[in-house]
Subunit: 232 residues, 2 copies
């Protein structure tokens, strides 16, 4: 295993200066997110980021211990875009639905973040805030004890598990039209008639619509299942 001893930006004191020098951590993280949005995870290098800020590559290391810390910061920035509705306003099912769609939309807006989900510790203030709100929703719904956390895990697992592959599809197949796409998969699935049938029905509709239908199908099923749990 390549297990580093574990560390996180969030667990150490930051540089003290409250003054406003030339560069700031915020500025760097913002530029990193911009670069990531444009060129993806593999497009972010310290040198490129430095150049974009008109700085030398190693200057950034004053504000950030290493690249992983920078990614942690950028990652938490993304979590900050997720808005978690208040269950008192709309009821827990609608709150969870809105949250799930919000998470999905946020990740799709920053596809590189999918590569970090589950690989980077999510201990930043924004991810904590989201976690806290999720917990509130399920507690308000009537779940108790460990079940509250289990509900949260289940929900995020579903959203992440559904969205991560979706992004891979979008980015890798983006330039191919759907006909080519179907042919490609048909070829790979040639040995399994059962799969071919699925490929064909799936390829009939507009890909975006199908993906949304699929996401909704699973989400509704999940909510139904949770509701049953809650009632018992």
């Amino acid at each position: 295993m390549s297990s580093k001893p574990f560390s996180s930006v969030w667990l150490r004191e930051p540089r003290k200066s409250a003054a406003a020098p030339g560069r700031s951590r915020e500025e760097i993280v913002a530029a990193a997110v911009e670069l990531l949005d444009q060129e993806g995870l593999s497009g972010l290098s310290m040198r490129k980021l430095g150049a974009r800020l008109g700085a030398g590559a190693t200057s950034l290391y004053w504000y950030v211990a290493n690249k992983d810390e920078l990614l942690e910061l950028a990652y938490d920035q993304v979590w900050g875009e997720i808005i978690v509705p208040d269950p008192d306003d709309v009821g827990w099912r609608d709150a969870v639905s809105a949250l799930a769609y919000g998470m999905r939309a946020t990740i799709l807006r920053h596809p590189w973040s999918a590569d970090l989900i589950g690989r980077l510790p999510a201990l930043g203030p924004n991810s904590m805030r989201v976690g806290d709100r999720i917990r509130r929703i399920f507690k308000a719904a009537g779940f108790q004890g460990l079940d509250i956390d289990f509900c949260g895990s289940t929900l995020t697992a579903y959203v992440f598990g559904m969205t991560i592959p979706e992004i891979a599809w979008r980015t890798s197949m983006g330039d191919k039209d759907i006909g080519q796409m179907r042919d490609t998969v048909r070829e790979a699935a040639a040995a399994h008639p059962e799969m071919l049938e699925g490929v064909d029905t799936l390829a009939d509709g507009d890909p975006d619509t199908v993906r949304r239908l699929s996401f909704d199908f699973g989400l509704v099923s999940l909510l139904d299942g949770l509701e049953r749990r809650r009632a018992s």
Copy 2:
């Protein structure tokens, strides 16, 4: 976006020779999996793998177009370890449960594979086989048309979404004891009393047991939800 034009080992003719030369693709892939199991994704480099096989790094490029192809092959190898039960024997709920646990166990046995889920195209014969069997299960359960595929997506999304972060936890925190762990998260969650409550209850039990409970909670909920869909 860093969107390469898309390609896959499975979509091109392999080298023709059916003879038995010194090295073979199978041997290389097996060694790669071994190395990955021992040192993780970042521990695999072409030079290291070559050395392990008593070969020069670039010799491998005769059998494999690039590193990504090698990873695709190793990845599919992992899918090959998943056994998908027959729904005729045990009923669809039990079949799905067994499958979900099997997938989880397989990924945990090869933690590096979690880093590839959703990033690499899964068009290999083994992943196709699994996909085919999953489809059969849900068809046998009585689902129809698009719903069959939606069920499959939902299930795999849940299993992947649940297992990917679990691996990150295991590997990054493996050497810390649970007390330290709780303190770490407590610190990060300090601003959110709601979360602290969760941290404390979760940290009470044995981590492995809690994880299994959590996995089961979501799985059962999901199955309940799907069952409701099927009935209507």
